[in-house]
Amino acid sequence: MSDIKKIKNEFLERLNEDLNIESINQIKSELFGKNGKISSSFKNLGSLPAEERKKFASDLNFVKDELQEKINKKIQEIEIKEINSKLENEKVDVTLPERNIVQGKIHPVSQVIDEISSIFSEIGFSVEEGPDVENEHYNFTALNTPDNHPARDMHDTFYLDDKKELLLRTHTSPVQVRTMLKGKPPFKIIAPGRTYRSDSDQTHAPMFHQVEGLHIDKNINMGHLKGCLDYFIKSFFEVDKIKMRFRPSHFPFTEPSAEVDIGYELKDGKIVIGEGDKWLEILGCGMVHPNVLKNVKINPDKYQGYAFGIGIDRLAMLKYGINDLRAFFETDYRWLNHFGFDPIDVPSNYRGLSR
């Protein structure tokens, strides 16, 4: 048997054994390395007589190819085997819980304030603010509620001094006065914020939130007021149709004044907004009283307009099915988690207010 055949048989036998990648590489270098058996056989080619050379070369090439192919096959086999065993051994249990994500929440009142701001900004209103601590003048007198007015009794005021001059604002309306005093008409603002009344039971909290609205220009009438609120209510509750009722009422700082009710019905103990034959009062509004305009040095014969005040907490309760007002301010972790909003869920007009 020629040397080549011997080599071939020997190595084919070795290659049929159970091998790992290292031993294959070992075999590979024994055959085709610099001093490998096949490589050195090729080197010997020159020393052979010319008549033998051709046959030898052809045999050698044949063996070389055969071995090489066998090696490649073997490598592939091993690789597949390794991948399979890897897949087998390193299987991931995807049902295990994820790594910790810390998800914060936005308070429903903040979310609703952003919704309201977004709605009114769409029709040209800008956001104003005013201080929580007010004096008697801005909170009452300038708003046409003089000292002897019984309407003052309707506000259970928190006072900060014995002379009752400093107080916590009982409504957001003083922002109207401050806004008009520091600028010139026209005015088109909303002012959301904290308000305070010394009243505390199941349906009243000593602190709550209101949003004030004010639009003063040369020709703003009650039709504009109705249109603005109609647009707001529909946008806020995200419905096309809503039953709404304007009912005459009285506030010292507006005249004519109105309270606005929306229709609702009870379905399985839950309030459904829009239809039904029950009425729910949701806001107070009216045409800014000429006395208020005079108090802020605006001529009521030239300028006129409307104002409104809406309870924000109440709106949040209605829209998101929250039953208890007191819970808004009790910082119960479960409540915040349940009723809170994802911080990325920013209300906007183009994508809609709520998810």
Binding site: V133, H149, Y159, G227, E255, E259, P290, T331, L336
Partner: protein, 617 residues
């Protein structure tokens, strides 16, 4: 303001249905709070069924009964009746009920060591018959499906309860409400029939109003009614008073109350024999005292408007009468007062003395100064009808002249404000129906304001009257005008928004806590800021404005830990206060975190919250 439809129809001729009247009341701005029957004491008596009757452990003659009163659980009642047995249908009276026969009020009580919730009643206790032997036995064919229902039928009329805004004192009387409804097209306001009384004798008690500075009384009308026999009110009057949930007292008191509720004309009746010589309406002098009808002794300051006689103060004018001159069932001669007191004076005095009465509520809002005589007439007529007696001439003392308040109204103002048009003729009709005297001068109306409308002083008030009577549903809904004058948010507001959402996105729950806090907690965080006390805090634990955002956050963190939460991350963005002046406040954001990071996580090791978590913010 409460009244029945029947009472309303004494002033209003109408064919409208109850539901239409209710709707119209809301439409004209007289908000209906409720329209239902007044609950009666008799509502406490229920049809009941004895489910089980056992021997009382400590008394031979008593039984302990389990009684089904139509609620989820049965109640235990100790009963001495021989006929109390299983399955008997009878009448149950709960704790708080008053037994008709003896006027005893039931309470939950222990009878020989067993607690009894209410009582099973005999026919005699219910004034049904004289049968006092054993409890009432109800026939099962009639009552077996009525367990839990009221035993007595509530025959009272349904009562309308209106919430009257402070600008509308005239609608604190039924007639005022009827007038508004008539103007809005709900029928016709009835004419007040002429009241004829024979009153020829002079009023013999001298009345004077002193010319004190800031005298709170400007008109004092009175008449003397002699030889009356005060008694229980007749049924029609009792029913009226009771239908409003009030208790009848005596004919004289009930009649003065009735006239007040009917016409918003408060009256006061004195026992004339208890008046020392004469009536002097004057300012009080500091230190004067009197015992009022609420059985409290009041110490007066200077310059409160009092009704007095030679011996001293009889009462606070327009607020409350005194016990010294009060009428009783044996009162023989009465002096009836019908006066006008200035709202400002009433308000000042009642505030200083902290008194709240029905009369005060009305005078504070403004009574019709022209209703003095009609009040005297109507009441004295009724009193003589019920109690007999002879009425004197009316004595009316005044320190002001009646003057008619006038106003000029440019008709175009209506459309300018309301945004829609109605015909001049209709405007004039509405105002006339409301009691205005109207004369048209080209584009203007000259109006004489009705004396019962102290709220009307300027043209905008007229616009309101027209638009509310015409109906707010006539106001058009105009497309919102979208003009913008200023950016929606300023730089600071944007920053507020950004910070709020950025902290929340790092795992903190936003909370909103009170702007006030506990001074003890506040002092731990207040640094150099001044403590700001609230004069009338809602509780002693919320007695100061917060100087720091952390007092409440810490408080609520603790509360959540107490609730069993171990890892809590909270934040708040809102005001803190530097001083008690407007503007002395800062908007701050503060966060608090406690517990462990990665608690109970399978692939991360847990660790306590540390300073670097804070730094991460």
């Amino acid at each position: 303001m409460k009244f029945t439809i029947g009472w309303l129809k004494e002033h209003l001729d109408t064919k409208f249905k109850d539901s239409e009247i209710i709707e119209k009341l809301n439409d004209v701005g007289l908000e209906v709070e409720s329209f239902e029957k007044v609950s009666s004491d008799l509502d406490n008596f229920k049809v009941a069924k004895i489910i089980n009757a056992e021997q009382h452990p400590n008394a031979d003659k008593l039984k302990v009964c389990d009684v089904d009163i139509g609620e989820q659980d049965t109640v235990k009642v100790v009963c001495g009746a021989a006929n109390a047995k299983k399955d008997l249908l009878t009448v149950y009276a709960g704790p708080g009920s008053v037994i008709p026969k003896n006027n005893i009020k039931l309470t939950v009580s222990k009878i020989r060591g067993v607690t009894s919730y209410g009582m099973l009643c005999s026919e005699s206790e219910l004034n049904l018959s004289d049968e006092s032997d054993g409890i009432t036995e109800l026939k099962s064919n009639k009552y077996s499906d009525k367990v839990g229902k009221n035993f007595f039928k509530n025959n009272t009329e349904k009562v309308i309860d209106l919430s009257i805004t402070p600008n509308r004192p005239d609608c604190l009387g039924v007639r005022g409400v009827a007038r508004d409804l008539a103007a809005a097209g709900v029928g016709k306001l009835k004419h007040t029939s002429n009241i004829n009384i024979k009153n020829n004798e002079a009023q013999k008690i001298k009345v004077s109003i002193t010319k004190d500075k800031n005298q709170g009384c400007t008109i004092f009308g009175s008449c003397l009614i002699k030889d009356v026999a005060n008694k229980e009110s007749p049924k029609w009057l009792k029913d009226k008073i009771e239908s409003l949930g009030q208790k009848p007292i005596s004919a004289i008191v009930d009649i003065t109350n009735y006239v007040m509720l009917d016409l918003n004309r408060p009256l006061h009746a004195y026992d004339a024999d208890k008046i020392d010589k004469e009536i002097i309406v004057r300012n009080s002098v500091k230190g004067e005292t009197f015992e009022a009808l609420d059985n409290k002794e009041y110490k007066l300051d200077n310059d409160m408007c009092v009704i007095s006689d030679k011996s001293g103060v009889l009462g606070l004018g327009g607020i409350i009468g005194g016990t010294r001159s009060g009428t009783e069932l044996n009162t023989k001669n009465i002096l009836l007062e019908s006066a006008y007191f200035l709202p400002r004076s009433i308000r000042k005095t009642s505030k200083l003395l902290n008194i709240d009465t029905d009369a005060k509520f009305r005078f504070e809002r403004g009574i019709d100064p022209q209703s003095i005589e009609i009040g005297l007439k109507k009441a004295s007529k009724l009193i003589t009808e019920v109690c007999g007696g002879k009425v004197s001439k009316f004595d009316i003392q005044k320190i002001i002249k009646n003057k008619k308040n006038k106003i000029k109204f440019k008709i175009s103002l209506f459309e300018r404000i309301a945004g829609f048009k109605i015909k001049d003729k209709e405007i004039i009709k509405i105002l006339t129906d409301l009691g205005f005297e109207v004369s048209k001068k080209k584009l203007e109306l000259e109006l004489i304001i009705p004396s019962w409308r102290p709220d009307i002083t300027q043209p905008i008030d007229i616009v309101e009257e027209i638009v509310r009577i015409k109906g707010y549903n006539n106001i058009r809904t105009l497309e919102p005008d979208k003009t913008r004058f200023k950016a929606a948010l300023n730089k600071q507001q944007k920053l507020f928004h950004f910070l709020q959402r950025s902290v929340a996105s790092k795992g903190y729950f936003e909370t909103i806590t009170w702007s006030f806090t506990d001074s003890k907690l506040n002092s731990l965080f207040k640094e150099n800021y001044k403590e700001i006390k609230i004069v009338n805090p809602i509780s002693s634990e919320l007695d100061v404005l917060r100087n720091s955002i952390f007092s409440n956050l810490t408080f609520y963190l603790k509360k959540n830990l107490d609730r069993g939460f171990r890892d809590v991350s909270l934040f708040e963005i809102g005001p803190i206060f530097k001083d008690n002046k407007p503007g002395e406040q800062l908007t701050v954001i503060g966060a608090i975190k406690s517990g462990k990071i990665s608690r109970l996580n399978w692939n991360e090791e847990n660790r306590p919250v540390d300073v670097f978590d804070a730094k991460k913010m």
